[in-house]
């Protein structure tokens, strides 16, 4: 009497496909309708549209550019400048936030009562205050505390800090410097090969020769020798007070410092929680087993706990990296020339082409996010538990 339940897969398939096709068609129709409506409305109101504006002259200056730029450059160049400035903040922020988050996350589990409580307090304070307020705090607190250019704080007369930024000597390379770079490359490759060979030896025989010193020597000696042979083809451009401001060297803007500090300290509070949760998620038996094997506390953390915790840490960590990148658009509030400020701000206002510019800006952030996710997922697959 008991009949097997109707097998839905086969019988329902054409109908499912039809529904999905209808849904897809409906979504496409809505998007097409919106696009048609927008272009029609723009035309009716006589508003310029299209991407031709990217070739027009921008006519305004930008305070920090990582590529050559001046007032006669095009809006397309402004887009590139904005993308690079955003990337600079995002990459620096991610690195600082990760280091800080890791330290504070592990610190929360420290057996030192005071240190653990301090780390806990850090997390609770930083993640419970809106990021924009923290950004203003860092920016204006830092600006107010720093002296003017004429009363700059000097470090050995070669680096200066004032409310216009941090001025550092800028290395300039002379002829023959290519050889140094080449030597460094060769040295690094040799060091990598040696490290690999030594690791194989250790895995096969259980013992191996020294690693650290030969690796350091292989990577540092060739470039040093090349430097000496080329008679040190490096000179420095030193910052010096001239008129209103310092000239020469290179400048780290206070806006950049405030933005990186605000973004990384804020994101670090979330990363700390992720790290703590990841470590506490490792079964207690693993820790006890590592102690039973006689591993020291640091070794147990490095060899047993962190590798297992990483598997739980990486996915939420990825989303924190994405958050940090997206939050960097708050830069516009403190005059850091990021993508949103120079492109979705000034350029939009001067060309009035809101739809195109916002679409490009969204596409850029989407690309950043998808690339970050792809890289982190690839890393996650590599460290995932492989069953042998």
């Amino acid at each position: 009497m008991a009949r097997p339940p109707a097998h839905r897969g086969r019988g329902a398939r054409p109908r499912d496909v039809l529904y999905q096709a209808l849904l897809l068609g409906a979504v496409a129709a809505v998007i097409a309708g919106m696009a048609w409506n927008a272009s029609h409305a723009l035309e009716r109101q006589n508003i310029a549209s299209g991407f031709g504006f990217l070739d027009n002259t921008a006519g305004f200056d930008i305070v920090q550019t990582l590529v050559a730029y001046d007032e006669t450059a095009t809006y397309g160049r402004v887009l590139l400048v904005g993308i690079l400035n955003t990337l600079l903040v995002a990459v620096t922020g991610v690195v600082v936030a990760t280091v800080l988050g890791l330290v504070i996350g592990i610190g929360q589990l420290s057996s030192n009562w005071l240190f653990a409580r301090l780390c806990r307090a850090y997390v609770e304070i930083l993640r419970n205050i809106p990021l924009l307020l923290q950004l203003f705090f860092w920016y204006f607190a830092v600006l107010r505390a720093l002296p003017g250019p004429r009363e700059s704080w000097s470090f050995l007369g070669s680096a200066f800090l004032n409310n216009r930024g941090l001025y550092l000597p800028k290395p300039l390379t002379g002829p023959g410097f290519e050889m140094v770079v080449l030597a460094l490359g060769v040295g690094l490759i040799a060091a990598a090969i040696l490290a690999h060979v030594r690791r194989r030896q250790r895995e096969e025989t259980g013992r191996a020769g020294p690693v650290l010193l030969p690796v350091l020597g292989l990577s540092l000696l060739p470039p040093l020798v090349a430097l000496a042979l080329a008679q040190f083809p490096v000179s420095f451009s030193w910052p010096a007070l001239a008129g209103f401001d310092f000239e020469g060297g290179f400048t780290v803007l206070p806006e950049l410092i405030a933005l990186v500090v605000a973004l990384s300290t804020y994101t670090a509070s979330y990363i700390a929680e992720i790290v703590r949760a990841g470590i506490q998620g490792v079964p207690k038996g693993q820790i006890e087993a590592s102690q039973a094997l006689g591993l020291k506390r640091g070794e147990a953390l490095r060899l047993v706990i962190i590798p297992q915790a990483l598997r739980q840490i990486i996915p939420p960590l990825t989303s924190q990296y994405l958050n940090l990148t997206k939050n960097s658009s708050l830069a516009v509030a403190i005059a850091y020339p990021d993508l949103v400020s120079v492109f979705a701000g000034t350029t939009l206002n001067q060309t009035g082409q809101a739809i195109e510019i916002i679409a490009i800006t969204m596409a850029v952030y989407l690309t950043f996010s998808l690339l970050t996710s792809a890289a982190m997922n690839a890393y996650n697959r590599r460290i995932a538990l492989t069953e042998r």
């Binding site: 508003i47 007032e71 003017g148 216009r164 008129g243 509030a333 403190i334 206002n349 009035g352």
Partner: protein, 342 residues
């Protein structure tokens, strides 16, 4: 005709036909304002003298008074205005997407904005120019001495472009720090982030009042650009543009003819034909705009003529104490010249 009864359709046709006969020009915007009972006006988020809210949220200022005059003209009540504060950056997009009926926000009339953005500028209400403010302690007396200076300003304004043009033309170097909001520009300037603050001269006078010690800062004599500030509307409703433009012209003509908010009712009896046409005693100029006869008289009575508006918000009656200068009437050494009402 399946969807609604024939009688309703007939009534609609009749209404449409009659209203067509009653008024010569019909502006969809003006009709909507009349139907809603209020005017929607896009204004600055806070610029002393031009548009600023008081502790109770009542707006006042030069740009505000133009909105009030329009409300008086259309709705006979200057208070029937809803203000939308809008940043320099989003103002045009907000206007284009219909967030408000008119943008009255110290906005410079330029060719690209007029042509590429699909806007219609009404006229210049205030002739301004970009200037610089510096701390007195810098001992700078001319903008030409600003070589190598760091300059703070707003993003999304003509000032960034003028600044670049001026320093390039004079072969000077500079660094620009551009914020989205006025408040942050001023805070950064006050904290010494930059040597100079640049924006329209009227804005400099207004912002200087907010500094800790206004007397320690000086506005340099150079005016580096032409900034005709004026209200703007969207393309496609010329009759609405006519109403706005002639409201401004009426306020300027009223000053020229000596008609003020205090004497407007006596002036109704004036034998001067120009005054009689302005106040609607003669002619049918109000009707031709789709308004009533006394359209201009209402604005003058409730808000005042151009001179009164200027002095109250920017001139001697205000904290700013800006002189009329180029904004005086054409026959008093300025450039204000309104076409005649006839």
């Amino acid at each position: 005709m399946r969807f609604f009864p024939r009688s309703i359709a007939a009534a609609l046709v009749a209404v449409a036909a009659f209203s067509g006969v009653a008024e010569a020009s019909k502006s969809p915007t003006v009709e909507r304002i009349k139907k809603n009972g209020f005017l929607r006006c896009g204004v600055n988020e806070g610029l002393t003298g031009f548009a600023s809210p008081d502790a109770k949220g009542n707006w006042s200022g030069f740009d505000i008074d133009f909105c009030r005059a329009l409300a008086a003209v259309i709705l006979n009540d200057a208070s029937k205005v809803r203000y939308t504060p809008t940043s320099a950056k989003v103002r045009f997009t907000a206007l284009q997407s219909g967030e408000f009926d008119i943008l009255s926000r110290n906005t410079t009339w330029t060719m690209s904005r007029d042509v590429q953005l699909g806007l219609e500028f009404i006229a210049a209400t205030y002739y301004d120019g970009q200037g610089f403010m510096v701390p007195k302690s810098l001992k700078v007396t001319s903008a030409k001495q600003l070589n190598g200076a760091t300059v703070c300003t707003n993003t999304g304004t003509t000032t960034e472009l003028n600044l670049a043009d001026y320093f390039r033309a004079n072969n000077l170097k500079y660094k620009i720090v551009a914020f989205e909001k006025n408040a942050e520009v001023l805070a950064a300037y006050d904290n010494g982030r930059c040597d100079a603050y640049t924006t329209d001269a009227s804005g400099l006078y207004a912002e200087r009042l907010k500094l800790k010690k206004p007397a320690d800062h000086v506005i340099l004599p150079e005016i580096i650009s032409k900034e005709p500030l004026g209200p703007a509307i969207n393309h496609g409703d010329q009759p609405w543009g006519d109403v706005a433009r002639w409201t401004l012209f009426a306020l300027i003509n009223a000053e020229e003819l000596g008609v003020t908010s205090k004497n407007v009712d006596q002036m109704m009896k004036s034998p001067n034909p120009e005054i009689r046409r302005l106040l609607g005693v003669e002619g049918a100029f109000g009707e031709s705009l789709g308004l009533s006869k006394d359209w201009a008289a209402r604005a003058i009575r409730q808000v005042g003529n151009y001179g009164e508006i200027f002095e109250r918000n920017l001139g001697q009656g205000s904290q700013l104490k800006i002189r009329r200068g180029v904004n005086a009437l054409w026959n008093k050494g300025g450039v204000l010249y309104a076409p005649p009402i006839r």
